[in-house]
């Protein structure tokens, strides 16, 4: 029932080198602060006792959206979800990410929360995670030995846990999106300020001539310890012509892959049902089998 922040040491490094040093120095005692929309709430209300808080916001160059000439995208870790929502480039070329970022919290939350924070908080229900996984995004990590890249698929290891060592997430890199069609669906009782009961991001490369599906990505949120790539479901579609039956089969495969738990937002059984409903719906809409593709929020 804590209502006030306990005392902690607040550090504000001016460079990544300095930040990295602090992280080596304090180890797990150091909590990294970006937008603070998760960390500060946990410190105030959920009993998280942080001794040292390292605020990254004074480090230049960690925020920003960079469209590369090859069509790929680089997003600084401190880029706010609001900046992503307002980016016409992202909306036009990476609509999946735009959809995910736009449905987090409220305008106020999105103006504080960062994409890096949304990922590092490692909630299985993080709204930017399924879109970024489906887009084949990579985390750019900065550690003692310099920079490395890690597919976001391998980034999450459990609720609140990531594969990062004593490293800092500095950005996200997303390969060119091409002509793929995609959709992110979030099912939550409220249309703002709410966490998904179930979410799903799908991305399909369908040859417009042959109707055959090339690469397919299906990523589920809030139904497993991590944002879950449903590989068997993807394989159901890849190299195939997308019939209604095949889309249903893929949705069933996604449902089988889900390992939901029951909590206040829904029972495990309901979540499992919703994986089928949302995956099928997203696939139908993304593949053009539906009547017009719109961003749906239940």
């Amino acid at each position: 029932m804590l209502s006030k922040l306990r005392e902690f040491q607040y550090l504000r490094p001016r460079s990544l080198d300095e930040a990295e040093e602090l992280i080596q120095q304090f180890g797990p005692d150091a909590r990294i602060l970006a937008g603070g929309t998760d960390l500060l709430v946990r410190m105030k209300e959920r009993g998280l006792r942080a001794r040292v808080v390292v605020d990254l916001k004074a480090i230049p160059g960690l925020a920003g959206i960079h469209a590369e000439p090859d069509g790929s995208l680089r997003i600084g870790a401190l880029t706010t979800l609001g900046d992503i929502e307002r980016s016409s480039h992202i909306r036009a070329h990476f609509p999946l990410l735009w959809q995910g970022a736009s449905c987090v919290g409220s305008v106020q939350v999105r103006n504080r929360a960062t994409v890096g924070g949304n990922l590092c908080n490692a909630s299985p229900a993080a709204d930017t995670a399924p879109p970024l996984l489906a887009l084949g995004g990579e985390a750019i990590l900065r550690g003692e030995r310099g920079e490395r890249r890690l597919l976001l698929e391998k980034f999450f290891t459990g609720p609140g846990r990531t594969a990062m060592g004593q490293e800092i997430l500095v950005g996200i890199s997303i390969p060119p999106n091409g002509a793929g069609s995609s959709l992110y669906l979030k099912h939550s009782p409220r249309r703002a300020m709410d966490i998904a009961i179930v979410s799903v991001a799908v991305r399909l490369d369908v040859d417009s001539q042959t109707g055959v599906c090339g690469k397919a990505s299906i990523v589920l949120g809030a139904v497993a310890p991590v944002p879950l790539r449903a590989r068997a479901a993807e394989q159901t579609l890849e190299g195939q012509r997308l019939t209604a039956q095949r889309l249903e089969d893929a949705a069933r495969a996604a449902q089988e892959a889900a390992q939901p738990i029951g909590d206040l937002r829904g029972t495990a059984a309901y979540r499992r049902e919703m994986v089928w409903v949302l995956t099928r719906r997203a696939l139908v809409e993304a593949s053009g089998a539906g009547e017009g593709s719109t961003f749906f929020q239940g």
Binding site: M1, L2, K4, E45, R190, L264, Y270
Partner: protein
């Protein structure tokens, strides 16, 4: 009012709007006093347990801790409660709900007080909690309170329901359950107390009833009422929750009295959600019969309100369900049995609607079912039965005036017609439907006598001060009082100052609850102003040598219109050595209490009515329900400040839709799992469409300018309209609130084939 100025019926801005918008309003949390200490409450983690031992040694020894109090330290009475003194200030032998108070700590800093709170060691013998209200009624159930678990039983008997059901061609019958919800006001409960050099105690508290807080503080401290002064701070919402639970005032007062230092106790949101009063969850069974031609013949109902660990106002809440359970309809045969039952949960108390929203969901659902079976339009069916002038209510009260419910239904039919083109969705899995809900609400408490009192002091320059005990909790009553006084006294609004919420200077008007302030206190203010004006006109009549009836008071002058003569009040007062004219206005509504055996009587002088129309969209595959359009028609008698009335109705729709679709305390073995707004889901602006408000004004002759009230009548039909719209959309009857996606999804799975006409 002269000079073509009108103050009543005009949407004047709120008196306090500028202060609030500029952030200058002073809320409890803004108060700081020299040397102030912070109080925190040690609470039970168990819903039912015996207290074996309380060890305060460690807490007392912490640096900065100035007091650790247990029940033994309470100098006066240890129990509080508006109807029955059954709630301990601090528990000494047993705890009855998760969050029951066991000890009180205070320290020089809030953080230290929190540490001290956690350092109080309480040893409990954990007992099996009583959770199900129906099971609790069994004599074998463990007893929550010494007097038994059935806290109250209220009855209504009119005609003979057996005869009524025999006369029916169609009978429908069903069970419903509603959930526990919180008022969820922006400002949680809090109080600051200070003791002066004479030993008098002053409390600043956000409250709906400072005079009641004073009573309880005086009892708990063991001092006279005159030694306690309670001042209401700007109050960030109440909805019933800041009435009848004076604990926070008592805690601040106990600490201030014990330490001699000013003390502040401010609940966290979690504390507010876990421990303060809630809306009664209900278990309801209804049976309704009608003839083939669509006339209601009988209503029979039994409901159990779960009042939690303490009664607070549970008896009155369930009594309101009983008197209102037949709806605003003419029904010859009615039988109602209502029970308030103790369980080991947070106490339920007053909440906007006071037992009516629960039963409205049940009877309005069944009226829709009847209409369907009779192949009648739901609005037409209701119009055949609705109360009109001259009708008798289920309590046997004949309504002579101000029965605008038929007009609200007629206007609802127009709104429904406007909504009908929007029933299409373009997606096969999205279905839309329209539902109506009709309800009523007696103005003022069903208690007799009940009264409101106000003073008006008319100054020589024509300006006036109004003193009234009814507090403004955000609904705008101070502005309303100023409008009424300005109208009577013929001055602009800025010539009126309104003083409320200070027990030292204002009369006890009872609580700001029960949709009573406009009607009762508005009348008291009007009567006082009228009397003050009358006295001034009599003085002037002597001066002019004419009859007072020929005179007009406006802008500080008394005019003789026929003779084009006038005298200023200043001159008039000087002439007669009058400094100011003070007048007292007292208003008591004309009611007769309900007979305890038959529930017959005239419990309210007048009633507010409303018909609401909801257009919802149901996702048949997920069970998600979205409100798409909403129209609300309420008969308010007269809207003294139309914009304030519209605001109340819009807020009621948000609150009622949350009740229907998303809100609810979730329990696991008596423990609340969602004491946070991240998991207790209030709807947001993004979830709600603009509300189309239609005001119906069927004037109430005994109301101020014909006004009745709107606070609760606007809340009562909302959930019923939404639930009926869900049925219209997808053909499933939701019998268990809230209609969260999973509940609707489960209902859809068992759905019968849709009726042929859709």
């Amino acid at each position: 009012m002269a000079d073509n100025q009108k103050a009543v019926g005009v949407s004047v801005p709120r008196i306090e709007a500028r202060e609030k918008v500029l952030g200058r309003s002073v809320y409890v949390d803004d108060l700081r006093r020299e040397g102030m200490i912070w109080g925190k409450v040690v609470r039970s983690p168990h819903p039912r347990a015996r207290i074996v031992h309380v060890d305060v040694t460690e807490a007392r020894g912490l640096p900065g801790v100035v007091a650790v109090l247990t029940a033994a330290d309470v100098p006066g009475d240890r129990y509080v409660g508006p109807l029955v003194k059954d709630q301990p200030i601090l528990c000494s032998s047993s705890v009855r709900f998760e969050g029951d108070a066991v000890a009180l700590v205070a320290a020089t800093a809030e953080e230290v007080a929190e540490t001290a709170r956690d350092a109080v060691r309480v040893e409990y013998e954990i007992l099996e909690p009583v959770l199900d209200p129906i099971a609790a009624m069994s004599p074998e159930a463990p007893q929550v309170q010494a007097g038994g678990n059935v806290a109250s039983y209220s009855k209504l008997r009119r005609g003979d329901v057996e005869v009524g059901f025999r006369a029916a061609d169609v009978i429908v019958e069903d069970s419903f359950s509603t959930q526990m919800i919180d008022h969820a006001y922006l400002e949680p409960e809090g109080a600051v107390a200070e003791v002066d050099a004479e030993g008098k105690v002053t409390i600043w508290v956000c409250s709906q009833y400072p005079h009641y807080d004073r009573q309880e503080v005086a009892r708990v401290l063991g001092v006279s009422l005159a030694r306690v002064r309670v001042i209401q701070t700007t109050t960030g919402g109440g909805f019933g929750g800041k009435f009848g639970s004076p604990l926070v005032s008592c805690y601040a007062a106990l600490l201030a009295a014990r330490t001699g230092r000013p003390a502040k106790v401010l609940y966290t949101r979690e504390e507010s959600l876990r421990t303060t009063v809630k809306r009664h969850p209900y278990r309801i069974h209804y049976k309704v019969g009608a003839t083939r031609s669509g006339k209601l013949t009988a209503v029979e109902a039994r409901f159990v309100g779960d009042t939690g660990a303490y009664l607070v106002v549970g008896r009155a809440v369930v009594g309101k369900s009983t008197s209102h359970g037949a709806g605003p309809y003419e029904v010859p045969h009615v039988k109602m049995d209502g029970y308030a039952v103790y369980t080991n949960k947070a106490p339920a108390g007053a909440m906007r609607g006071y037992g009516v929203p629960q039963v409205a969901v049940a009877y309005e659902s069944l009226l829709d079912e009847l209409a369907r079976k009779l192949n009648l339009d739901p609005i037409e069916f209701r119009l055949k039965n609705v109360l009109r002038e001259g009708s008798q209510t289920a309590t046997g009260q004949t309504l002579l005036h101000s029965v605008g419910v038929a007009e609200t239904l007629e206007r609802a039919a127009d709104a429904r017609r406007e909504m009908t083109p929007h029933l299409k969705t373009g997606k096969p899995y999205l279905k839309r439907g329209i539902g109506v809900g009709v309800s009523w609400h007696g103005i003022g408490a069903a208690r007799s006598p009940s009264q409101a009192t106000a003073y008006v002091n008319l100054c020589g320059d024509g300006s006036a001060t109004v003193l009234c005990g009814s507090v403004d909790i955000g609904q705008g009553s101070n502005t309303l009082f100023s409008q009424i006084a300005a109208e009577e006294l013929g001055v602009p609004l800025d010539q009126i100052s309104v003083v409320t919420g200070d027990t030292l200077t204002t009369p006890d008007c009872e609580a700001t609850t029960a949709t009573r302030v406009t009607y009762l206190s508005g009348n008291a203010v009007r009567l006082a102003a009228e009397k003050a004006k009358g006295t001034a006109l009599e003085l002037a009549a002597k001066h002019f040598g004419c009859l007072p009836e020929h005179l007009i008071l406006a802008r500080g002058k008394v005019q003789v219109p026929d003779a084009a003569l006038e005298i200023s009040l200043t001159d008039l007062f000087k002439k007669h050595a009058v400094q100011q004219i003070s007048a007292l206005g007292v208003f008591s509504p004309d009611c007769t209490p309900l007979d305890p055996e038959t529930g017959q009587g005239s419990p309210h002088a007048t009633y507010g009515f409303g018909t609401h129309v909801a257009l919802v969209e149901v996702d048949q595959e997920t069970g998600a329900v979205r409100l798409v359009d909403y129209a609300a028609f309420n008969d308010v008698g007269k809207a003294i400040n139309p914009q304030a009335v519209e605001g109340q109705i819009e807020g009621a729709v948000a609150m009622g839709t949350g009740y229907a679709l998303s809100e609810g305390m979730i329990f696991d073995r008596g423990k609340i799992l969602n004491p946070s707004f991240a998991t207790y889901l209030l709807l947001t602006a993004a979830d709600l469409p603009p509300v189309r408000v239609g005001l119906v004004e069927a004037p109430e002759p005994t109301g101020p300018y014909g006004a009745k009230g709107v606070g609760e009548p606007s809340m009562n039909p909302v959930a019923a309209a939404v639930i009926n719209a869900i049925y219209d959309a997808v053909g499933v009857r939701i019998r268990e609130l809230p209609a969260v996606p999973e509940t609707v999804f489960a209902a859809l799975k068992t759905r019968q084939p849709l009726p042929a006409d859709r």
